[in-house]
Symmetry: C2
Subunit: 406 residues, 2 copies
């Protein structure tokens, strides 16, 4: 593992690795820099192939320096499946789905929190908090439990109840917030000094993007170090997309892959589409969405992704696009994936629904190779009620008052 540096994705300024903030004063996202020349001297495809089947096989490209600090529950190296029947239906060269639901906690969020919590451990930090629409909550809860840390998770009222249930079972202090995810984020920011919380929310620290990056490293290796033409990814906070793109940039610089990067496509749900709108209007910068009107939250409901400008530049620079799909299209895609044996989350099914739109619009052409991501298990989203014992708060003050009562 290497000593990291950070670079701003917008103004390109370099700063020494620090752990407390993910966004530069100019508004760009801080990304970890590696000494790729040094890694190139020790890496080879043959050497990597012999390593253990977890995301930590790429340890030199992850920001943890001591093996002992790694907090692992067996994440990564998830299967990539082909769907020959649908390749024919959609006239594609290849159609793959990477099954992220086979991670610990049943979602891709495990990757980000494995790295983020390992970073906390390396720093001796004992209390972590996260605002989440769902899977991030249970992932932080599980990894904090594994590390013997305290976790505090804050979710909107309409977060899937099963995910609340899961966070409780991992022992996290769990609170429902009467508001959207940014209200949950504000609660944490308001309370963090007093409570000693480290905020591991999106773009608040560099670990989660690095963890999600392993999806990109894996897909390249699993496809024989040959990348697909198109990657379709559900975009909420955007750190999954940013991570995958960063992975492929690093692999390219390392000489592990060649040629053009895939075209990246963001999928969002009608009712909260800041990325789609900016792509279609040609706006330079992303405009916060204002009031979201989606029926019930899924992970892509993020009205104002913190690293929005970087998302736009990835989509544009790779020749990709962004596409909105309806809840009904997501439902139909979930059904189609179920009938192929895949338990797809709404976000995962949104990539399938997005692909159908992209074939209709011609944005994906016949014969192309396309990779989708199923980000989590379908069952976690059944309308299970959150346990009545979970407190509700509008802000940090209410949270603190409730807590002292309890």
């Amino acid at each position: 593992m290497v000593e990291g540096q950070l670079v701003c994705s917008n103004c390109s300024s370099n700063v020494p690795f620090h752990h407390e903030d993910g966004i530069c004063s100019c508004g760009g996202a801080f990304l970890v820099v590696y000494d790729l020349e040094r890694i190139q001297r020790v890496w080879s495809k043959e050497e990597i192939a012999r390593r253990s089947a977890t995301m930590w096989r790429y340890k030199e490209l992850l920001p943890i320096q001591r093996e002992n600090d790694i907090v692992s529950l067996g994440e990564g190296w998830t299967p990539v499946l082909r769907f020959p029947e649908w390749e024919k239906k959609l006239s594609l060269g290849r159609l793959w789905v990477k099954r992220e639901e086979q991670n610990p906690t049943g979602s891709f969020k495990a990757r980000g929190f494995s790295v983020a919590v390992s970073l906390l451990k390396s720093r001796g930090i004992r209390r972590a908090a996260v605002p989440s629409n769902g899977n991030a909550a249970s992932a932080l809860a599980a990894y904090a439990a594994r590390a013997g840390m305290e976790a505090f998770v804050f979710v909107p009222m309409d977060c899937p109840g099963m995910i609340v249930e899961e966070a409780l079972r991992y022992g996290a202090e769990t609170c429902r917030v009467d508001g959207l995810i940014h209200d949950a984020g504000k609660l944490i920011e308001d309370g963090k000094q007093k409570e000693g919380w480290f905020n591991v929310g999106t773009a608040k620290e560099p670990g989660r993007v690095e963890g999600k990056k392993t999806m990109g490293l894996e897909l390249a290796e699993q496809l024989g170090w040959k990348v697909p033409h198109v990657i379709v990814y559900p975009t909420g906070g955007g750190s999954g997309l940013i991570g995958i793109w960063k992975a492929l940039c690093e692999l390219k610089e390392l000489g592990m892959i060649e040629g053009d990067l895939p075209r990246f496509v963001s999928v969002q749900e009608t009712g909260c589409t800041p990325v789609v709108d900016a792509m279609h209007s040609g706006a330079e910068r992303l405009v916060p969405y204002g009031e979201s009107t989606t029926a019930s939250p899924i992970g892509v409901r993020v009205p104002n992704p913190p690293a929005g400008d970087l998302i736009l530049s990835i989509l544009r620079e790779t020749g990709g696009t962004a596409v909105a799909v309806t809840r009904e299209e997501i439902r139909l895609a979930q059904r189609a994936m179920g009938l192929q044996g895949i338990s797809a989350s709404p976000e995962g099914a949104a990539t399938w629904a997005g692909l159908i739109r992209l074939r209709e619009s011609g944005d994906v052409q016949a014969g192309e190779r396309v990779l989708l991501f199923n980000t989590a298990h379908a069952l976690k989203y059944l309308p299970w009620p959150a346990p009545a014992s979970v407190p509700v708060a509008r802000n940090y003050q209410e949270f603190a008052v409730n807590r002292n009562k309890g």
Copy 2:
């Protein structure tokens, strides 16, 4: 892959490989025989280590001859985690849990159905049926969907509703049976000729045991080809235990592992303990349990496991035992595992609860190396109601009548 033969686990008679029955006329279980001398010539630890991270890395020890017949959703090669804190608490040399919930469909049942459905495919069979207390239902449904086959699943009324939900999403024709799992089995036997169903129930065909065998192959390789002192496994129908034992016997004959086999321990739940009772009374043969009195079914509620005598002989020959745990002990173990970051099914938690009993009784001694299995995700067992649209039947006649109405 090799041409198989079958041997009876009781009378040792050899018969050519056939697919329609799992039990010999003497009552023993038919097990697949491999040409181990031939495999020994092609296998090496180094060669296996280079293979893909699925259970199909052991293809020569699985009964599928043509790669094209393999029906895979990315099963196997699940993580094995250590629990250092609990090693100290229980004074163990090592405590591992193999995370079977990270398989497709969130349970170890994926392994058995990957092989069983592959065998059906190789024979051109198009309709499969299974009786199940839960996870087998959703696993058959998913693998049949992947293979483009029709699946029919029959579950007791009190089968976890979420698993019924899952089977429906994979497109299986699903029916709740007013009775226990053997009533569901009888329904299939009564209807199979008319409906053209192949019954893939426990001990009805050789594929499921072979698939589950890969848990044993993997644990040996993942622990560096050195087996633990004790394996604790939740025992219902018993084919998981039989499979793991068969795997280690084969590896021993292949020279891949050395020394004594692990002591096998069956865990059952108070209220339905045919294996525990036979072990404690010293009975030669297993006595069917009669009326089970468990609160709600978990996968270990099988009053009369079809290959019960083989289970007893495995426990006795390896110097193992069987242990009963209460629902309350299971609940506490689930809590303990949750606080370690593991989403444990009741059956998986039963192995943890069983281990605590075994340490108290001295059946597991200080310093020993113990491996547990978490067989499925906790969340699948939340008391979610089965969808009202699922028909209910007491027997095949009622099933057929309901169906013609529908």
